[in-house]
Each structure stands twice: as structure tokens, then as C-alpha cells.
Symmetry: C2
């Protein structure tokens, strides 16, 4: 199969002619990490810049023949170390496979390559009256393929579901280089097992997604934005609970805690924290957006210290209300190095989870700021650590996550499990959450999943030490 007279580097160069294989130090360094901040030990072998399905097949065949691990990479925006390449790995970069092959208004379907930027797809869909609903916070820079690998969530999934709910079918190159097509172009279909759903969220461990048939939805004609300030995080959660009890499915319910509000104020000169200890942003959309916003506003006025409302998406007030949410992460990044955690709990446990996270911060002395997708029970406790401590990495940053931050993260994950939740709502297991996976899944489930993984990848070349 492979030519044994060649070194591994030479063999991959031969498989991907025309400069699409590089072992250059600067190129490898630019592609070896994701946004988790985690630096795996050792050094990847090189970067394969795939342009076609056949490129991907050639790389995987060579990798299997030589037992070389493969790390698949989109834009590298993952937060769990899934795309942080291990020692000796081929980094399979799919960013260049970025064509929107088809956008069908009649079928409300897009057929894309995996490297398409999420927002680019949504923009193309909106130009014809449709929308691609999944909107992870990274959508301006992340790829659809990466979103599929992690089953990315986002803000709008309160109403429109996670990435899984928008994937109708996939083209996947299996570990042995075979190409398989799963799913279909129709909205419904039950012929055979749901392999599409199995590949979504599998974090590059079962195969390499090289194409996707995606469901588009009608772009909502109208969106109304409301914001409210509360005396406490718990009071804001109670308001969300009451809104949901009215029967309204909001398009977004984003919640910032007091520390995050103060960080935004410090960064932007706003004065959020003078109005309360929790900031809630709600959107309603569609034909009933106005009526729904009226009902939401009535709930908020009964519970909040202050309420603001925009007339429509085109209203400058809407952008202003959204700005506080958008400013949160940049504001925290000014303070130090951010570790974005990601747990989800049953909705009734949201306030308790947030209170426990605040206690964990106090107990461990670690700064924790909490943002939540409140309608989904999905919390992002953001741990901010000193940028200059530890062992020292590129640009003076540390490679190491301080022990007290791990301790806080451990307590946060334990909280999620104690409350009947999960250690990852939308970011994935990657490399960094593997130690908690067994506790969440239980032995029977975990072992079944490991056998499943071996079935798809008997030689273990796909993302070793990542995901499951």
C-alpha cells in the first residue's frame, strides 16, 4: 500500500502533491493548537491541506498504512483540545474545502464542504430568505465541519435546536479511506440506523466529514429584543422559568452574572452593574414576535428592576442590547487567560448550579464569571487565570493550567453531574474533559461506545486521546 522506501513525510508529500503537505515549523505551529489554550506534548508530523475528497482518502490510507495519528482541523476554534494535535500526528486541514456546492430554496437545503465558515453559509441562505440556524458564538470564524464534529450549540438553539437538528446527511471518509454517504436530502427518513447522528458530535473519532447536506429554515421576518436587569441570578432564572411557562419558545435567553456585568463595564465604559446583579437578554422571532414580546415584557416587568425593548432587529436599540452579551468574552480576555467551561443541567437546577459555581470560585480563590444559555440550562462558567504564571509558552503565555483552576473545573463538573447534568453542553469532550467522561456515562455505556469506536477505527489512528 504505502511505499516503505519513503519516510512518512515523503509519503504524505507524495499523496498530496503541489505544496499541499508541509512540515515547515511555522506552518505546523500555526495549525497545531485549538482555542482551548492547551499545548499537547511533542510535535506533530506535518500539515495536510486537503482540497478534495480524494485528498482526504489518500491521507487516511497512508495514515492507516503507517499507523500515523490524524487530527482533523477546521478553523481550530474548539475549546476542549479536540484539534490540539498529538506528537507525530498528521494535521488534516479541511479549511480549503470551503465551497457551498448547492443552495436550494425549493428544498430548503444546502450542500456544503466542511470548511465553509458558519456565518458565510447563513449569509448565503439569508440572501434567499432562508437561514442556517446553528449559531455557536464562534460562527464568524468557525467551520461547519467543526460545528458538526462537536455538535455545536449556540444562542438560537433555544428555539431551533443544536447542529444535529440541521444536518440531514453527511459524506464521511472512514478510517480505511472508504467514502460513505449517510442520511438523505429529505426532512424525514427512517431507512436504517441514524449514522448521520452518530457522526455528528463524534469529534473526529469515527471518520472525517467531507460533505454535508444541511437543513435551512425560513429566515424569521421579525425579531424583537428585550433586556432586563435583576437583583440576583436566581431572580433572572425565575423570570425565564415564568416566560417558558407562558408557552412561548423564545429564540434566545442569554444570562450574564454580576461579575461578568462588572467586567463588561470595565472594558466598555457601560454601567450595567449599576442596574442589577444579573442581565437577561431575550429575543422572540417570527410572525408572533410582537405578541410574544408583549407577553415576555409583562413577565419581566413583574420581576426585573429595569426592562428595555427594541422595536425590531433594524432598531439600533437591538444592537445596543446585544452589545453587552457580545462584549462579555473580550472583556474577560482583558483580565487574563480564559478557560471557557461548558456544563448543562436540567432547567430547574440552573439557579442552583450558578450559586454553586459562585461558591466554588470563593472556595478555590479562582475568578469565575458565568454566562448561560438560560432556556437550555447550559452554563458557561468562565475561569480567568493569570496570563503570566506557570511554565511559560509562546508570547509569554503559560502552557499550563494552574492547579487551582483544574480544582475549580473539577468541582464545576462534579456539580453538573450531581445536579443530573452533563460535563459538556455544546463544546465536546476533546482532550481536556476525558477524565470526567466515565463518571457521566457509566461503565456499560462507556465500554459500548469504546467498542463502537474500535469498529469504525480498528487501528486507532483517528484523534487518539481525544473525544471518547
Amino acid at each position: 500500500m504505502t511505499d516503505r522506501r519513503l519516510t512518512a513525510g515523503e509519503a504524505f508529500a507524495a499523496a498530496l502533491p503541489g505544496g499541499r503537505w508541509s512540515q515547515d515549523d511555522a506552518v505546523v505551529d500555526a495549525h497545531r493548537l485549538d482555542r482551548s489554550g492547551w499545548h499537547p506534548p511533542g510535535r506533530p508530523l506535518g500539515v495536510a491541506f486537503a482540497r478534495t475528497v480524494d485528498d482526504v482518502r489518500a491521507v487516511l490510507r497512508e495514515a492507516v498504512a503507517r499507523g500515523v495519528p490524524v487530527t482533523v482541523r477546521g478553523a481550530g476554534t474548539g475549546l476542549a483540545g479536540g484539534a490540539a494535535a498529538p506528537d507525530g500526528a498528521v494535521i488534516l486541514d479541511l479549511a480549503g474545502m470551503n465551497r457551498i456546492r448547492e443552495l436550494s430554496v425549493a428544498d430548503a437545503v444546502a450542500v456544503v464542504e466542511p470548511g465553509v465558515i458558519t456565518d458565510d453559509l447563513d449569509r448565503a441562505a439569508r440572501a434567499v430568505g432562508l437561514t442556517y440556524s446553528p449559531d455557536p458564538a464562534s460562527s464568524a470564524i468557525s467551520t461547519v465541519g467543526g460545528n458538526i464534529a462537536t455538535n455545536a450549540g449556540g444562542l438560537r438553539c433555544a428555539k431551533y435546536g443544536v447542529t444535529r437538528e440541521s444536518v440531514l446527511g453527511l459524506d464521511v471518509v472512514l478510517a480505511d479511506g472508504e467514502l460513505v454517504s449517510t442520511g438523505r436530502r429529505t426532512v424525514k427518513g427512517v431507512a436504517g440506523y441514524d449514522l448521520t447522528g452518530l457522526f455528528v458530535g463524534s469529534e473526529g473519532t469515527l471518520g472525517v466529514v467531507v460533505g454535508a447536506t444541511l437543513r435551512l429554515r425560513p429566515a424569521p421576518r421579525r425579531t424583537v429584543t428585550l433586556a432586563a436587569f435583576f437583583d440576583s441570578f436566581g431572580a433572572a432564572v425565575d423570570a425565564v422559568t415564568e416566560i417558558m411557562a407562558t408557552g412561548i419558545v423564545v429564540a434566545m435567553a442569554e444570562l450574564l452574572d454580576g461579575p461578568t456585568m462588572r467586567a463588561v463595564d470595565a472594558a466598555t465604559g457601560s454601567d450595567l452593574a449599576t442596574s442589577g446583579q444579573a442581565f437577561l437578554l431575550v429575543q422572540t422571532d417570527g410572525a408572533g414576535a410582537g405578541d410574544e414580546a408583549d407577553a415576555v415584557e409583562a413577565v419581566l416587568r413583574g420581576r426585573a428592576r429595569a426592562v428595555r425593548r427594541s422595536a425590531d432587529t433594524t432598531d439600533p436599540a437591538a444592537a445596543e442590547l446585544l452589545a453587552a452579551r457580545r462584549a462579555a468574552l473580550p472583556a474577560l480576555e482583558r483580565i487574563g487567560r480564559v478557560l471557557i467551561e461548558d456544563i448543562a443541567v436540567p432547567r430547574s437546577r440552573l439557579a442552583r448550579a450558578a450559586a454553586r459555581i459562585a461558591e466554588i470560585g470563593a472556595d478555590t480563590g479562582v475568578q469565575i464569571f458565568t454566562i448561560a444559555h438560560a432556556a437550555d440550562g447550559n452554563l458557561h462558567p468562565i475561569i480567568v487565570v493569570d496570563r503570566t504564571g506557570g511554565a511559560g509558552g509562546p508570547a509569554g503565555e503559560t502552557d499550563e493550567i494552574p492547579a487551582e483552576a483544574w480544582k475549580a473545573a473539577d468541582l464545576i463538573f462534579q456539580t453538573a453531574l450531581d445536579l443530573g447534568g452533563t460535563v459538556t453542553g455544546e463544546h465536546g469532550i476533546g482532550a481536556l474533559k476525558r477524565r470526567w467522561l466515565g463518571a457521566e456515562l457509566g461503565t456499560t455505556n462507556h465500554s459500548l461506545q469504546q467498542r463502537l469506536r474500535r469498529l469504525f477505527d480498528p487501528t486507532g489512528i483517528l484523534s487518539p486521546g481525544r473525544g471518547l
Copy 2:
């Protein structure tokens, strides 16, 4: 493991004491078939009436030890022969495991046993302001477990998705008797592979679902029903396309063709067919139901021969409009024995599929009546055959499906595949569609799924000859 001095019947009786095992002819006959009308050859061994998870585990352990096939059964409303038990099989009846264990308003979640009747769950949810969205036409008599086994669709999935979109987690007894819990109680969660999705729609071939954590949704406060008559099926499809282009997600879009309208008229004394050749029923729901109905009505008035509209669900006019759809199947059952087919095509191909089905009826001389879930591109071509022809079965009915009906079905499935669709939108492969599965999936996919099946069930006791 098993006591070899016992016969298989004695062993199962010992595993399920207290009369929960029967080999009585009348009991076996009452439980051996589903609603497909298909009689498999041979005779099942007996019926195991499970009441607990441990009952299911005991049955599977005994079945594996003796190599006895197991057919899992809910209410037996399947239409593809999936629950039609083969020769020598244990029929594992879960209808007695029918408790709603929990219904949480705060988390919008229900935890149920598999034998709960679908409508019973929805009724319980509506009593607290919530709803269980999946509504297969059989919801008054089918079980949640059966819906999960086939990933059942329904009328409302135009807006709320298929069964899969309402299943958060499962308890499953694997072939070896091990119990595994998948998924979670949270809306979001990406720890590990989506085993939940893999079990949904697996038709009893990967394990036995003994518990489910289900997502409930707010019950819509208002529902508006509209009906319209068109000169042709194609004109009605064009109206649906235009409605969807307005950005409105309708809660229901049911379409009856001319032959079905005439059958309803003959059965009920209505005069649908005097108003047109296609009948379209549309519902809008939620806070924007009124505004959305206005927009739908405007489209319908521009294209239909006649339009009717109900004020609300409580309006008697709504029930009257729905009655035509509800009367369709009983009306066809008066004419003869019905074989309900189930294909789905990309929405843009819906009219072409319907036209081709009409041609197939004319070419083969087989009576075919078509009902469609139009928003999903899901068509039910209903083949009606003579009740008295063929080999003769119980109560004078034939066991055999006439050759020309198979021929027509074959052409219908070929049409679905030619148009980029699927041979089953929501009913499953069962026993009767296996011969078309390979053509739909392709060799690589099919073989991968077969290996997956063997991983879960190495001895092949679960639903042999069914599903995949």
C-alpha cells in the same frame, strides 16, 4: 446459564413466573402480527408479558443462551412487519410496562416506560400546560416505545420534528441482558456518541427500550385550521411551496388527492370532490397563529378554488375541517385491504412523485390513493387490494399480497429513489422493505450498518429478518 433440562417454553415460564409467559394458541395468535397485514411463515414460540426491566433482562438472557429470536412488541400498530414474529420467536410484549414515572413541568420532561400509549402521555402533559409533540396517526393506540423503535413521524412534525427530536435519553436492555442508559435529562449535551439517536429508529435490532426521558414542549395557546380545495394535486403543492416561502412554519400541511376525496365522500356522505381534485388542510399555532393564518389564507385565496377557516381549535368548524383527513383511512378500508406505503422525497419533487404514483396506478391497474404530509415531502400512497383474493387467511382475508400490488409498490419505491428520496419516511423498514434497503443505502453504508448491528447483537437474536 440456562437450565438445559428444561424445554425453551419451560425455561421462559421459569424466567417469568406468575402467568407472564404464555404458549396458548389464542394468546400467541393475538400477539404475533402487526398492522402491515403480513403473516410470516411458521409459528412463534410464545409470548412474554414483561412488567419490569428485570423481566426484559431475564427474557433476553434466556434467549441468548438458547439462540431463540426475540420480537419486541408494543401495541403492534407497525405497518412494515417489524413486529410480525418469525417462526420460533419469543414475542416480548411491553404493553404492560405503561407507567408515566415522572412528568416535570419545571424541566419540561417526562420519564416513561415504553408501553405508555402516545396520546395518554400527551394528555397528561397537556393537563399541565405542556405537550408531547410526536403524533403518528396511530397515536390513540400506539405506544411510545413503538414510536421510538420506528422513529415515528406524524402530522405535527412539520413544525415539531419526528420522535427523535423529543427523545433526550433512553434505558435499553442490550442483547446480553446488560442495561445501558443513554443521553440525559438536559436539552443539550455532547458527552460521547449519540447512542440515543442510534437506538431511536433501530426497530428492535440493537436492544430493547425499557425507559425513555422525553422532551415536552409548551402546549400552543392557539391553533387555527384552514382548508382549501384545488384543481389538482400539483396546484395544492404549489400553494404549500408558496406558504413556506413566506417564512411561516406551519404546524400541519395535510394533502388528500382526488381519489381519496371521492372515497371519503362515499364513506361519509360529504361532498369534497365537488369542490376540487385536491384537499389541503393547514394549521398554524402559537402566539402568532392568527397572523400566520392570515398570511396562509392570502396564499390559499390566490390559488385555491375554495378556502375555509376555523376561528380556533375550540371552533366546531376546526373539527369539521379535520374530519375529512381523519375519515380517509377508514374510508379506504371500506373498499378493500389497505397497504399503506410511505415514501419521502425532497419537497421540490412532491408533485412529480404524486403524478408518478398516479401513473403507476394506471399502468398496473392497482388502486392507489395518496395522502401526503406536504411540508415534509412525505407521501403515503395507499394501495387498496381485493379483500377476498389470494390464498385465504383468517376471517376469509388473504395472507398474500397480490403480485400486482408488489409491482406497484416496487415502482413507487423506485420513484422515491429516482427523485432523491427514501423508501420510508416514518414507518420503518420492518420485514417488508428490506429488499429495497440496499439500493437506498449503497453498499458501503449498508455493510457498515450490518457490522454495527453485529456489534450490538453478536448472536443475532434481536428481530432477525427485520429492520436493517
